[in-house]
Each structure stands twice: as C-alpha cells, then as structure tokens.
C-alpha cells in the first residue's frame, strides 16, 4: 500500500517539477475551476511580484508555455481537465497523499527559507505520507481549504 503511494508521489513530484505547474495546482486546489486567462495572470504575477519573484519571463511566454506544455502535462497526469475551446481548466482532485505533497511544496515555495524541494520530498518519503490514509483516491477532496486562515504550516513543520 505504501508502495503505491510512493509511486504516485514520485510521479506527482515529476509532474510538479516545474514551478508554473505548482502555481496552477495551488490555485485550482482552492478554486476548483479557472479560466486560462486567470491562471496565466496568477502565474505571471507570482513570478513578477509574488513568491516566485526573480524568475524573468515575459507574460507572453508564460501564456505560451502554460498552453502548450504545462496544462497538457497536468492533464496527462490526470490532475486537471483543460478544455481548450472554452479556455476552462478544471481541477480533478488529489489523493490524500498527493495533497500532502502539494502542501509541503507550497510551504517550500513560499517560506522565506526557500526549502529545497528534493529535501521536502525525501522527508515526505521517510515519514511515510500514506500512513494516515488508505490508498484509495478521494477526488472530491480536491478543494479542501488546508491551512487557510491559520499560520500553522503543513507537514513540513517540525522537520
């Protein structure tokens, strides 16, 4: 059972290796669905003035790579549905284990310390992130507002 989670987590880590894909997931976890324009604006602001500031990429390139690479990759991984006709992106949810990985990566992407994601993943692996849940996926949990309104960190805390 832990093996299945670990594989899923490894695969998720691969898919989320690009920061723009992570930002899309952070947004969609809260909002479930978004227009392409909103996601592009979220990512552009994130790298221009938000937690990812410092990366230099024009908003045109953000839009192009989002459309041609990142959203298709997230769709391929079963995380989102990307309707290119309507320009709508819908979140398909995460398993509990995957959700914890995304929590940890959000911590890493926003903490002042800028944790190394590789280290976060290793920590998640060691602690056996699947232990508290069974391995069935819980798609409807996609929009749980984890951590909203509190200062408490995710599972990265106390490591």
């Amino acid at each position: 059972m832990v093996t299945g989670d670990t594989e899923e987590v490894s695969h998720l880590f691969q898919v989320l290796s690009h920061p723009h894909r992570r930002v899309v997931v952070y947004y969609l976890r809260e909002h479930e669905t978004a227009s392409f324009a909103t996601l592009a604006e979220t990512v552009t602001g994130w790298i221009e003035a938000g937690p990812g500031r410092g990366e230099s990429m024009t908003d045109r390139n953000v839009r192009a790579t989002l459309h041609h690479a990142h959203l298709p990759a997230l769709a391929e991984a079963g995380l989102v549905r990307y309707d290119t006709d309507s320009g709508t992106v819908t979140f398909l949810g995460l398993s509990a284990a995957a959700d914890e990985v995304v929590d940890a990566s959000l911590d890493a992407d926003t903490s002042a310390a800028r944790l190394d994601l590789e280290r976060v993943l290793a920590a998640v692996d060691e602690s056996g992130c699947g232990q508290s849940t069974d391995s069935t996926t819980s798609e409807s949990d996609g929009s749980v507002n984890r951590g909203s309104g509190t200062d408490s960190g995710g599972p990265g805390d106390g490591n």
Binding site: Y27, E41, T42, G45, E48, A49, P51, R53, N145, R146
Partner: protein
C-alpha cells in the same frame, strides 16, 4: 485661449483617460486598508484567494487581455503610506506606490488626502529626476504654496540638468533659483489644479504628466498620463496661459 487643441485643463485631463483597467490582488485575504488605496482609482478590483503568506501577496494590473505588470505586496506598507519625500531627497528609491501609479496611468483617481496626491505626483518627478535632463513644469495653487517646496526643488536642479518651470498665482515672490523659472499665472484657472508635467527631454517615451483638480475642498480628481500628445498639449497650454 487661442489654441484649438485644448481649451481647458479639465478637457486635457479628460483626454488623458484611457480604458478601465483591472487590478487583481492575490493572497490570503483582501486587505481593507490596501483596498482603500486601490479604491481611489477608477479600476475594477478583484481578489483571488491563494494560501500564501501575506508577505508573499501580490497584485497584477491588466487592460483588457493585456497584462501590464505586477506589484509585490512585500511593499504593502508603502501602498498604505507612500513616500511623500521627493526621490532625490530620500534613500527610498524604490516605491511600490509609484509603480502602481505608473501601471494605472490613464486611470482617473479621486483622492481626499493631499499627502497621497503629493506621493502620486512624485511618480512624474521621479521620471524627470532619473533622466536628469529636460523640462519639468509644475503648477501650484499659489506661489506661496511653492514656498515649502523651495529647498526640495533647489536640490532637484542642483543635482540634475533639469530645468523647472513653476506656475502659480503670484501671492508670493520666490527667491531666484538657477534653472528654476517662475511664471505668475493670472488666469485663475491654476488655483483649482495641480499639474506636474515632464517633457521627456524631447522623447515621446519619456513624456508624462499628472493633472489633478481640486473639485471639492481637499478632494482631488485627476489622472496620470504617459500619452505624449496630451503631455505636449498640456505643456503648450500652460505656456500659453501665462503669455
């Protein structure tokens, strides 16, 4: 006025208006005090929840489908209390508020706080200061209002090759300052307006101006513009007014 391009400062201000822009804030919550700043601009305001620390929050400005830029909320404090002191007179070179003012060019603002209007005008002065050459035209409701600014302007022309032209109703005679010309205005129109205009040292891409009217006591309705045609007409209008 004899010109057929501009008949009043109000008309020029209205010409400086552009399409309505959209401001989106991203972060854990919509901050009431920042919203009160953003709310002074005639823009569409939206908040998008993101579970990120307040210090990582950000806002974006767009016009239609066009992304114009982003401002970091690490500088939220500066949006609430923008730097009033002129850029040549302070250590604070970066200003999130000036950045915001710049992104919201062409957007009408209504401000009931004179200090904020000063901070808004700083965006124009900062551009002139950074280029260091060209002509900066500044109107005062009366020349006596210029009195408090004399030291600041002395330092501005002292540290640049800028030429400054000061317009105002002549109720006080300023001391002579090299590279500062004083133009007494007797039309009376300037008493209700505050105009700061930089001629860009001749380059269209550098031209900018703020035109604000004190529509009610201590309430200013104005706009910042980078439209070179409006800036040219504005400077010409001011110069004709005192001829």
């Amino acid at each position: 006025m004899e010109t057929d391009t501009a008949t009043s400062l109000r008309e020029l201000r209205d010409r400086a208006r552009g399409p309505v822009k959209r401001i989106t804030t991203f972060g854990p919550e919509a901050y009431a005090d920042v919203e009160s700043v953003l709310g002074q601009f005639d823009a569409t305001l939206t908040h998008e929840y993101l579970p990120i620390p307040e210090s990582d929050s950000y806002l974006t400005v767009r016009s239609g489908d066009r992304h114009l830029g982003s401002v970091s909320a690490a500088a939220l404090g500066d949006l609430r209390d923008p730097v009033e002191r002129p850029p040549w007179d302070t250590e604070t070179r970066e200003s999130a508020y000036r950045e915001l003012v710049s992104l919201l060019s062409g957007t009408t603002f209504v401000m009931d706080d004179r200090r904020r209007l000063v901070a808004t005008a700083r965006e124009i002065e900062d551009r002139a200061y950074r280029h260091g050459r060209g002509r900066l035209s500044v109107t005062f409701q009366s020349l006596s209002a210029f009195r408090a600014q004399v030291p600041a302007y002395r330092r501005l022309v002292g540290s640049t090759d800028l030429e400054v032209v000061v317009f105002g109703t002549p109720d006080w005679e300023p001391p002579p300052i090299e590279n500062v010309t004083v133009e007494p205005d007797t039309t009376g129109e300037l008493t209700e307006f505050w105009v700061v205009a930089f001629d860009g040292d001749g380059a269209d891409g550098r031209k900018c101006a703020m035109i604000a009217e004190e529509a009610d006591p201590d309430e200013y309705t104005g706009v910042v513009t980078y439209d070179p045609a409006v800036v040219d007409d504005l400077i010409e209008y001011l110069e004709r007014a005192v001829d």
